[in-house]
Symmetry: C2
């Protein structure tokens, strides 16, 4: 998606530790018009996937998942990293390593919002190592639901996430797929 | 806003500890069409406030703030509760008590997204004790910016938040203002 790629080139910064800083428009400050366009495009790509519900992870997955859900007219659930007092005693919980924080985080979903047998579309901001999304996949499996697709804003194609997640033929779509960030220069794949 | 009040009556639950559980449509699962309508209505109420930017707090403020920002065509910033590696070394940070978690949380904003002299509109999901929103107000003051309004989805009118926050004449709008939840029955104020 050219609009997002242009914005990453304009405002994204490659930090020394290999992290892509996009906190001016995706994950601290959000550009709502850009996010709306991204949601529209992800919804277009997954309009025939038959999803009953969208699943994402707090915090930075919420904006793209909400905008996609709005265009697909589907409820969106965000896995919590802390169990709030409003959650029932029994939940689906998995742990996943956090690339940007360097520790393990919990991903928790209330069973009432992930019913057995439903078709679930995962939307998140980043696909890099795939560890967070793989955690969401485990929650879907625990619930006896079915994963029908994975959509992200930004993909780091040079990390192992896509290979890890596409094993079972799950459709994966990313709006800006980064081939390389070497020497701080961002280049995208052809598609 | 009748649509939100009707949904609270239909799907909201008053828990024993005085917490209103709305995690089926606001803060775990989100109904994107309802959230879109709420954002549209908050944008209508604040269309003349002159805001340059919207500020909210992660996690459950993100959805209503994003939808309001979309209708006002303003950037939206969510205060982080943990400092990510992408943030600069020097930030605005305040601590606020968390009503639902029973501990203190940090609220952190990167100075580049809260510029001195700007007019800031705060949007959040709940106004109850007002402690989280008061934390956001302190961040705005620390930045030398100006608070021009506070909008929330749900207000617990019987708590002290409104009295605390309206001292300086700041306009406060809530879409569903709850007068009482006694014996588990939710009643709204007239307006």
């Amino acid at each position: 998606m050219q609009l997002l790629k242009d914005r990453i080139i304009k405002d994204g910064k490659v930090l020394n530790n290999g992290i892509l800083k996009v906190d001016g428009f995706i994950n601290h400050q959000v550009d709502p018009m850009l996010m709306d366009e991204c949601g529209k495009e992800l919804a277009r790509r997954f309009k025939n996937c038959g999803a009953d519900r969208i699943l994402t992870a707090e915090i930075s997955g919420i904006a793209p998942a909400l905008m996609t859900a709005r265009y697909l007219n589907l409820p969106v659930v965000y896995a919590r990293k802390n169990k709030p007092v409003t959650m029932p005693d029994t939940v689906y919980l998995t742990i996943a390593p956090s690339h940007t924080k360097g520790n393990m985080v919990e991903l928790i979903v209330s069973p009432e919002y992930l019913p057995r047998g439903e078709k679930i579309l995962i939307i998140d901001d980043f696909l890099a190592s795939g560890s967070t999304i793989l955690g969401l996949v485990r929650l879907i499996q625990a619930a006896g639901a079915e994963l029908v697709g994975i959509g992200t804003l930004v993909e780091k194609y040079f990390e192992s996430g896509r290979a890890l997640l596409s094993k079972n033929g799950t459709p994966i779509e990313s709006l800006a797929c980064i081939k390389s960030m070497e020497n701080g220069t961002i280049t995208f794949t052809e598609n």
